[in-house]
């Protein structure tokens, strides 16, 4: 369960968000420029925020009235930004291990993840030699290796061609069914939202416009941005 109540000053508007969701897979849906990425960055603690409150499973991550601000490294929120942003100077394995400290339990998670995401054959490779889809799988693995409490995915399929998209989607579904950790998935793509979301939060021009089951919410043509 994540609860968010924020005023976020963006150019050219202020994002006002008051929302909570508890699904395993929540899709944050809205047109480009609606402030989706900014909201993800704020949840991850990467963006200074003036007013509001964010809590995750009972832990307060940010509360302006009580002057609480947990730095990103203490939030245990995994973040997969657009185009994966792998560390270019590290191998795939080193990328996966980046957040895994020696001696802590997550070390046991890694083989499982390598299996789940089919990364076994890529471990020695450099990020520059990977395809867009492979990069995204590594970024997913890297984020999951730290056993986060929430995973933030920022348009993970953007920029991939149809064939690559189709290859990545099963991994995302596997991730969802594995119930490893809940995710918040940003997209402006209708089909992805319906396919992957248990729940959809609709963000338009700085406000939450609606929230509900993807089939109910997105079947009305009113909210299609990409078709």
């Amino acid at each position: 369960m994540i609860e968010i109540d924020l005023d976020l000053a963006l150019e050219p508007f202020t994002l006002q968000v008051n929302v909570s969701f508890a699904s395993q897979a929540t899709v944050l849906f809205g047109p480009s420029g609606a402030g989706k990425t900014s909201l993800l960055e704020t949840i991850a603690g990467l963006r200074p925020t003036v007013r509001g409150r964010i809590s995750l499973q009972g832990t307060v991550l940010f509360d302006s009235s009580r002057r609480v601000f947990l730095p990103p490294e203490q939030r245990r929120i995994g973040y997969v930004p657009q185009e994966a942003a792998l560390f270019p100077h590290l191998s795939v394995l080193e990328n996966l291990q980046f957040g895994v400290s020696n001696g802590s339990s997550p070390l046991r998670v890694l083989p499982e993840l390598i299996d789940l995401l089919d990364l076994g054959s890529l471990l020695e490779r450099a990020p520059a030699t990977l395809s867009g889809g492979e990069c995204m799988r590594v970024a997913l693995g890297r984020a999951l290796a730290t056993s986060p409490r929430l995973l933030l995915l920022d348009e993970p399929l953007r920029g991939l061609d149809v064939e690559r998209k189709q290859r990545i989607v099963p991994y995302l579904l596997r991730l969802r069914e594995a119930g490893r950790c809940p995710f918040l998935y940003v997209t402006h793509n209708h089909r992805e939202a319906i396919l992957l979301g248990h729940e959809v939060v609709l963000l338009t021009s700085g406000k939450i416009a609606a929230q509900g089951k993807p089939a109910d919410l997105l079947s009305t043509k009113q909210y299609s941005f990409d078709l």
Binding site: A44, P71, R75, Y79, P81, F98
Partner: protein
């Protein structure tokens, strides 16, 4: 003649030593300043940048005079010792280091550091493991340019350190001395030495930056 050669070797060794000390002195501050400037988005950014770039365009003698005022106020006087030459050289080379290192930091995708933080790593760890390794070529490039500048330092050094043989008389000061005394051939020999040193530094910088462009 052999006496002269010995003097020239002394001047060269002194020049290298002073330049090296100056570079070691400014390295941590230069990296910090470059990284700070690259990350800072608040007010006064252009003012800070202008101030940091000033030594590049001010007459070195003017910097020397400012340093002379500052150093003469401190209790233990280091004026007219090799240490003051190091300080003058450091002040003149600093902006070049910052410029080189800064463009390297600027070229790094800021999301890399962001992601690293979300992976549970603190800012220092992220700097060591992500930011610096990705910027090292640019930092070393800035360092070599600054070193080349340090080798040629003249104006600020002569004001605060004078031209004492074996203590503060670096290559450029020795060249000046030779010209003053009409020893053109000796001056030219030192010019050749300076040229070789400067060429080596700048050439390695170019090679390094070229490779970092290809590496991306």
């Amino acid at each position: 003649m052999t006496h002269q050669v010995a003097n020239e070797i002394v001047a060269l060794a002194l020049t290298l030593r002073i330049a090296a000390c100056a570079i070691v002195l400014i390295l941590p501050f230069g990296i910090l300043a470059a990284y700070g400037l690259s990350r800072y988005r608040g007010p006064g950014k252009s003012l800070i940048e202008t101030l940091l770039a000033l030594p590049l365009v001010l007459p070195p003698v003017a910097i020397g005079l400012i340093l002379l005022e500052l150093l003469s106020r401190s209790t233990s006087s280091i004026l007219f010792t090799w240490k003051s030459a190091v300080i003058a050289t450091a002040a003149m080379s600093f902006p070049l280091l910052v410029r080189g290192a800064r463009s390297a930091f600027d070229a790094i995708d800021p999301r890399l550091a962001d992601v690293a933080r979300t992976l549970g790593r603190g800012p220092l760890y992220v700097f060591w493991r992500v930011t610096l390794p990705l910027a090292w070529r640019g930092v070393v490039g800035g360092l070599l340019t600054a070193f080349a500048r340090a080798l040629g330092e003249f104006g600020a050094t002569i004001v605060v350190a004078g031209s004492i043989p074996g203590e503060t008389r670096t290559l450029s000061l020795a060249i000046f001395q030779h010209i003053e005394a009409g020893r053109d051939a000796a001056a030219m020999r030192l010019v050749g030495l300076s040229l070789a040193c400067a060429f080596l530094c700048l050439w390695s910088t170019e090679r390094l930056l070229l490779r970092s462009k290809r590496g991306r």
